[in-house]
């Protein structure tokens, strides 16, 4: 097959056609677009499509290979599940933002050069922010603006690096970079990518913005931005030691915050940092098995994290809050939601038979294989924290625990949401039970069997004894109605400081300058105008008027000769004729 329809095209065109449809046709259309994209990915063959020349730059829209395909598969599947979950939303804008977001993420996946990648990278930031704003609360609007500014900053880092890279190599081609060859340009690009992957300390935009997103928007958000970043890191920056260390730090950092957070969606947001940390560490370790693990974990993570956000979103949608301190005893009202949430929770925790078990362990085992026992231990410590907060703390305080004073009049969420959760839960189970379905998609051919005795023993000890400590210390973990500072403190307080500086220093200076201008500047201007006027009247007008007067007086002489009588004209003509003749002769 020589031609191929880029799956992003379905989303972009679909988003534009969406407002033209009404009622059931629109709902069908919203589900049809991702299905069309799934078909397009299914029929994709490895190769390079859509190469173009623009301003002397060689660009590629469609680089289809194993690495881009494993991400593309999960992106289009997730797009379908997300669209199903959001199906009840009436606003066209929400669906359109979702489609543009997914489309641009797919565009970034298949981009073969930095320029194409950059364009889709920016569309991604600008379309996803609407999914935050569609929550339509003051907090979301503010968080959305912070999110946007932070991503614009990241885009600028990437752009600066890209331009310097072009200056250095004369090409925008986006290929694997060797750590030994990397200098300023490459590290700037890496910083831009790392910001989207929420690598410390460029991570604060994520737990700031995602918990403020719309219920349905958060399901999209948690899937695409960070995983596109993992993809570009895996494409360009395998084997960078700094990624191995920072990734491992992310895994532990995320779970520490998850232990102290109160809002379910904030707990989950910190767990995105933690889980993406595993992938970043996998890319940093850089062996075939580790990169495979990063790709596999991205695949599994998108599904179970979306499932968790769907569950938390359902609780928020039906009860009006996602704060653990105001929830409890929901198993009576939302048992199905609870079961689906628990499937997500055991998947992320890496229980045998669920997806996290077969993907996370590849990265941990890769660290083990390389003899990086410290990395491996920290990654397993993060595993403890994952089960502790997502698996136990959130489940216990939301669905069990004490019911709040005023009972929550909750019901199961709408059918489309339940179906989306059910299908996602099923996929988590299928990947866990039949890991080969996922492994065949991975970029490198590696023999790995997750279900071996040593790994089972290691995982079960970690999970079960974490359960024991939770049982003994559950009181210590009761949610606290607090806000926990993160590095966004520096720019949020920093902007407040700047505003104060503006108010106290810049604004008074501006007033002073204005006053100075009014008194001195304006007076000088008036004087100058007066002088100009004088010069204009006396000098310029004198010349112009003088000319005009001469023409007028000449005209009045000529006027006298124009009597209108033919004999006078003939007489005058003859007189002139003879006068000229006399002069010439």
């Amino acid at each position: 097959m020589d031609s191929w329809i880029h799956p992003a095209l379905f989303f972009f065109v679909g988003a534009l056609l969406l407002p033209l449809l009404r009622g059931k046709a629109k709902k069908g259309f919203i589900l049809l677009i991702p299905v069309a994209a799934i078909v397009s990915v299914a029929f994709a063959r490895y190769g390079v499509y859509g190469a173009y020349h623009f301003l002397g730059v060689e660009g590629v829209f469609g680089r289809v290979d194993k690495l881009s395909m494993v991400f593309a598969w999960v992106f289009v599947i997730m797009a379908f599940l997300g669209a199903l979950y959001a199906l009840h939303r009436e606003e066209d804008g929400h669906h359109m933002a979702g489609f543009f977001y997914v489309g641009s993420a797919l565009g970034a996946l298949f981009a073969g050069d930095y320029l194409t990648l950059f364009i889709f990278w920016e569309i991604m930031a600008f379309s996803s922010v609407f999914l935050i704003w569609y929550r339509k609360e003051k907090k979301s609007i503010e968080a959305g603006f912070r999110y946007l500014m932070f991503h614009v900053f990241g885009g600028l880092l990437f752009f600066a690096g890209m331009m310097l890279y072009y200056h250095k190599t004369g090409s925008f081609a986006f290929n694997s970079i060797l750590p030994a060859n990397a200098s300023w340009p490459e590290y700037l690009i890496l910083a831009g990518f790392a910001l989207n992957a929420a690598v410390l300390p460029l991570h604060a935009w994520l737990p700031d913005a995602y918990p403020e997103a719309s219920v349905e928007g958060a399901v999209f958000l948690c899937a695409f931005t960070t995983k596109t970043a993992v993809y570009v890191l895996a494409r360009g920056f395998t084997g960078f030691e700094i990624l191995a260390i920072m990734g491992t730090a992310m895994t532990v950092f995320g779970v520490c915050y998850a232990v102290i957070e109160n809002d379910i969606r904030r707990v989950l947001a910190y767990h995105i940092i933690s889980q993406v940390g595993y992938m970043v560490a996998g890319v940093g370790i850089g062996t075939a098995m580790a990169v495979n693990g990063a790709a596999a974990h991205a695949f599994a993570h998108i599904l179970y994290k979306a499932l968790l956000f769907m569950g938390a979103g359902s609780v928020l949608y039906m009860t009006g809050t996602a704060k653990l301190s105001r929830l409890g005893g929901l198993y009576k009202y939302m048992p199905l939601t609870m079961i689906f949430y628990i499937v997500g929770a055991v998947s992320i925790s890496g229980f045998p038979l669920f997806s996290g078990f077969v993907s996370k362990s590849m990265i941990v085992s890769a660290a083990h294989h390389e003899g990086r026992i410290w990395l491996m231990s920290w990654l397993n410590l993060a595993g403890i924290g994952t089960f502790l907060s997502v698996g136990l703390k959130v489940t216990y305080f939301t669905f069990f625990g004490k019911e709040p004073a005023e009972p929550l009049q909750a019901k199961e969420p709408p059918l489309n949401m339940l179906w989306a959760m059910g299908l996602t839960a099923l996929l988590c189970l299928i990947i866990g039970v039949f890991p080969q379905t996922l492994y065949v998609l991975l970029p490198f051919p590696v023999e790995y069997h997750p279900y071996n005795l040593a790994h089972l023993s290691e995982s079960m000890q970690i999970l079960a004894f974490t359960g024991l400590v939770f049982y003994l210390m559950v009181k210590k973990l009761s949610p606290e109605v607090k806000l926990n500072l993160d590095v966004d403190y520096f720019y949020r307080k920093g902007t407040l400081l700047f505003m104060k500086f503006d108010e106290k220093v810049i604004a008074p200076f501006d007033t002073l300058w204005g006053e100075l201008y009014r008194t001195l500047g304006l007076r000088a201007l008036f004087k100058n105008a007066e002088l100009s006027y004088f010069f204009d009247q006396r000098a310029i007008d004198g010349v112009v008027d003088g000319t005009a007067y001469s023409v007028m007086s000449f005209g009045s002489v000529v006027k006298k000769m124009q009597t209108g009588k033919i004999q006078t004209y003939i007489g005058l003509s003859l007189f002139l004729f003879f006068a000229i003749l006399w002069l010439v002769l």
Binding site: G371, Q461, V469, K482, L483, N484, L485
Partner: protein
Amino acid sequence: MNVLKIIEYLIAKAAPLKTAFFVFLGALVLFDLFLPRDNAHYIVDKVYAFWTLFALAGCFLLIKISKGIAHLFLSKDEDYYG
């Protein structure tokens, strides 16, 4: 609803489930003692029930340290940023 009945049945059986959980914990440690260790190169593979000890200590410290730091300076009122 059936699902709810199953959950309530399990909650009613909390005491025997708890016993079963503790038996399971013991069984896990025993299982690790009999695990073949031919390929054990590193300390994490050589020490018996290493991950049990790791989980107990790790989980305890994770809670203590996170909560400790939070109470020390991270926790603020919810309207801290206004």
